[in-house]
Symmetry: C2
Subunit: 214 residues, 2 copies
């Protein structure tokens, strides 16, 4: 199809499509003449993935590019692709690794992972990200909200079911896309549903409120 | 204390502190002379909150300002503060409300909330955000990852325990800060722990890998 069709079928403006082409997120179409190219279903799918990462997932263009590069690699085992897909998503280090509060929080998270028997690399950036949140909560005196086992109880069965599902896929390309989508879009979904559950729990605890109002 | 002490005690550069003052995120200090001001423990605490929202939570300065305005309001009931604290966090609408895929996803999420008996406002922006993720997953053919009840099972007990904890606080200021921190930092913590649980589940399903490697 032509770029105009790609635009209408994906709900993405031609300007955005040209931007993604220029930035290397979307592969070039098959040239059919000067300033003309033909796009196919793979382009449409890739465009949906780009928009999911950027518009829904909130990734920067640079991070989306790194994630898509992981998606495009075909030499990964199912396990190493998880690390490869997670890596660009975990973002830059924002903590000061010598700050005592952060060091204590990192030890707390490492201890949690050990206690739960989680097989994770000791230098996993996700341990640092969890420590960032724990250190911030503690620095603000929100100690009762650092209920790490409560969080672990929530994510463990979810993560196991998701990994089983994704690893059961036969094509590696579908597998790695499942990891990326499950991670990014799943996080957004989880966050939105947790907020809805907060609103519900709060409404139940405030019986003078009408159903769902307020 | 002087701005230099505020800087060293909070691990924030003087330039950043001046930026937060200029942007209205941090209240001005008590003037003690031309170009001199005195700051107190409240400033230090506010500075930690600002950095938690921006550095750990990834909020923009504008969104952080809106969240802090909600924190500073003293006229909110415990329930309405949840909506007020959530509102700036839910971000702008990014979906096309007439797009059939999105409309179907929104109905799916509304149905979930109804089925679970969640007391949430029918126009809650969190329902839109959940629909964004569901619509993106479906547009990418990741139908098996749209396991809404699995997500709801994960967040319900977590959210109820958190709301109980925060509503049990006696000072309203501590309550609203608990909502904000619990929402933003809790989401980051939940996301990081879910990724760690993914890595663990993947390592278990790939028995040829050494502990935590790969």
């Amino acid at each position: 199809v032509r770029i105009a069709d790609l635009s209408s079928r994906s709900g993405t403006s031609i300007a955005s499509i040209k931007f993604y082409l220029r930035e290397g997120l979307l592969p070039a179409g098959r040239p059919t003449g000067p300033n003309r190219a033909e796009y196919d279903e793979d382009h449409l799918h890739r465009l949906r993935l780009i928009r999911a990462l950027i518009d829904v997932g909130g990734l920067s263009v640079a991070t989306a590019r790194d994630v898509l590069a992981a998606v495009d690699r075909r030499d990964l085992t199912s396990h190493s692709l998880m690390g490869t897909a997670h890596k660009p998503l975990s973002g830059p280090d924002r903590h000061d690794p010598d700050e005592p509060g952060w060091v204590a929080a990192r030890a707390e998270v490492t201890e949690l992972a050990g206690r739960r028997g989680w097989r994770v690399a000791p230098d996993s950036p996700e341990l640092d990200r969890a420590a960032d949140a724990v250190a911030a909560l503690r620095s603000l005196g929100q100690h009762d909200l650092v209920a790490l086992d409560r969080y672990a109880d929530a994510v463990e069965p979810l993560a196991r079911a998701e990994v089983d599902q994704v690893l059961a896929r036969r094509e590696p390309a579908r597998m790695v896309e499942g990891v990326v989508c499950g991670t990014i879009l799943g996080e957004r979904l989880l966050a939105a549903l947790r907020r809805l559950a907060h609103q519900d729990a709060s409404a139940r605890r405030t019986p003078d409120l009408a159903n769902g109002a307020g």
